[in-house]
């Protein structure tokens, strides 16, 4: 068994050495296909990362009809914090609200001179848990708050939230659709390149069948070769992606953000890098298999 495996590996490597041009063509095709897909994936990953970063800003503000007495505030905060979707609650008194407003007005803060300190209502600023930054999460919190008659108004930027969710969904759908399209195109190109390499070696396939080699015996070294080429293509794509990330994408994404948002462009995680190389192996295997079915006929 071990000898057979060694024989197959030896033959796969010898085939690659014997046909350097065809072998390089197959590796490069796979590298280009994988790098294109991975670049697209990386861009989507970064935009999604930015979107998630933005979504951390989502919060609900509940305004009181009349400010609650000081001794009831802690209990009230505790009550709201007990909601499943709520992470943190901050009480903003009318004085604090006025101070913030005045800061925001900047040079025009003088307009507020002589205004009553209780002009603005007291409110609760409610930050949500990381899994609840969705419309459903917000709606659950709002529904709970509206049951409480002490609150006059509840604000949560509904229109913005809907638009934001639609954008993220569109991004995910486009990623999935284009990704599948790229994958199919890559598989088609790779399968055809491998078909060419097999066509150049049809004599070898014919002679093998003639001397009594089984279908599996003929196919295994070619599959192994496809997998090895895919592995090399995957590594090459990863290298290319890293270089283009460092030289182009990082700067490109930064200027796409336009304003500093406290989110640095990210590269693929170790698992994702592993997946990229593994996709290469899989692509090589599937490409070889698809072509071999046509060429190896006993």
């Amino acid at each position: 068994m071990l000898e057979k495996i060694r024989y197959f590996i030896r033959r796969a490597l010898r085939n690659m050495r014997q046909w350097p041009v065809l072998c390089s063509a197959a590796i490069l095709t796979m590298a280009v296909a994988l790098a294109t897909m991975a670049t697209f994936f990386l861009v989507v990953l970064n935009i999604q990362g930015l979107a998630t970063n933005w979504s951390q800003e989502i919060q609900v503000v509940a305004y009181f009809k009349t400010p609650p007495p000081r001794n009831q505030r802690a209990k009230l905060i505790q009550q709201v914090e007990a909601f499943v979707d709520v992470n943190q609650v901050v009480f903003i008194s009318p004085t604090e609200a006025l101070k913030r407003f005045s800061t925001r007005l900047g040079d025009d803060a003088g307009l507020l001179e002589g205004v009553s300190r209780t002009l603005l209502p007291a409110s609760l600023e409610i930050r949500l848990k990381s899994g609840s930054h969705s419309r459903e999460g917000v709606e659950r919190v709002v529904a709970e708050l509206k049951k409480d008659s002490r609150f006059n108004d509840v604000r949560f930027g509904q229109e913005w939230l809907e638009r934001f969710e639609n954008f993220v969904n569109l991004l995910k759908f486009a990623g999935l659709f284009l990704g599948s399209l790229f994958l199919l195109a890559a598989l088609f190109i790779v399968s055809n390149t491998i078909k060419l390499t097999l066509y150049a070696r049809r004599d070898e396939l014919e002679i093998m069948a003639l001397v009594g080699a089984t279908k599996r015996f003929i196919q295994i070294p070619f599959l192994l070769e496809g997998a090895l080429q895919g592995f090399a293509g995957g590594l090459l794509a990863l290298g290319f992606l890293w270089l283009s990330f460092k030289l182009l994408l990082e700067k490109g994404l930064h200027s796409f953000w336009l304003t500093p948002v406290g989110f640095d462009p990210i590269f693929l995680s170790t698992e994702q890098q592993f997946m990229l190389v593994f996709s290469g192996v899989l692509l090589g295997l599937l490409g070889s298999l698809a072509s071999l079915r046509k060429f190896v006929r006993l």
Binding site: E3, K4, Y7, Q18, D203, E204, E206, I207, M208, A209, L210, V211, G212, A213, T214, K215, F217, L298
Partner: protein, 221 residues
């Protein structure tokens, strides 16, 4: 060893390559298959090693009906049969040794066994000193001897040769015939397709004559 019962091979309705052919060839027999081009010689041989199937009729090889054989069984049939072609069918990217070893490796033989048998087979055809050369560097006669070594290295029950001397001069043809005779003397059944009358006049053996796909002669010397 080889039995054909009413074998017909047709390609579509118009073209019939072999018609109602019935013949028995005993174990260890040396048989010529003759006839002009297009008589059906190659079709006949190709059906014996499973490269094509008869449209009608049955073929038995070593008692096994190969017309009913599953495709995955064909490689095992071929391991009992050595085939030699007019155009040698050698791999020019491989050495002489590798070309002959191919047949044994395909059968999953161990490495030491492969090297021993390949050397013996090449010695048998007088090319043991050309082990590392590539077929393309050798003469036509030498290339055909490599092809014969590849066919014989697996100790086949049957040796099929389709116009093996078609591209060779008389002197080399006689050398090749000597190799076939030696294999036959060791018990291998030999079937040699040729349109060269001088061959069976020089080495008289049983002759099956084909014409337009029909067996028109079965002559024992």
């Amino acid at each position: 060893m080889i039995q054909l019962f009413n074998v017909t091979k047709a390609y579509g309705k118009e073209s019939v390559a072999l018609r109602e052919m019935s013949v028995h060839i005993e174990k260890g027999e040396f048989t010529y298959v003759t006839g002009p081009s297009g008589a059906g010689k190659t079709t006949f041989l190709s059906m014996l090693y499973g490269a094509s199937r008869p449209t009608r009729g049955q073929i038995l090889i070593d008692g096994i009906n190969i017309t009913r054989m599953a495709r995955r069984q064909i490689p095992f049939l071929r391991r009992k049969i050595g085939v030699v072609f007019q155009d040698f069918k050698l791999l020019n990217s491989r050495s002489v040794y590798e070309n002959v070893a191919f047949a044994l490796e395909a059968q999953g033989k161990k490495r030491y066994e492969v090297s021993k048998k390949v050397y013996q087979a090449l010695k048998e055809v007088g090319l043991e000193h050309r082990l590392q050369r590539r077929p393309i560097e050798l003469s036509g006669g030498e290339q055909q001897r490599i092809a014969i070594a590849r066919a014989l290295v697996v100790d086949p029950l049957i040796l099929l040769a389709d116009e093996p001397s078609g591209n060779l001069d008389l002197e080399v043809t006689l050398e090749i015939m000597e190799l076939f005779k030696r294999a036959n003397a060791r018990g291998t059944t030999v079937l040699l397709a040729t349109h060269d009358n001088s061959l069976y006049q020089r080495f008289p053996k049983r002759v099956l004559g084909l014409e337009a796909g029909r067996l028109v002669m079965d002559h024992q010397p």
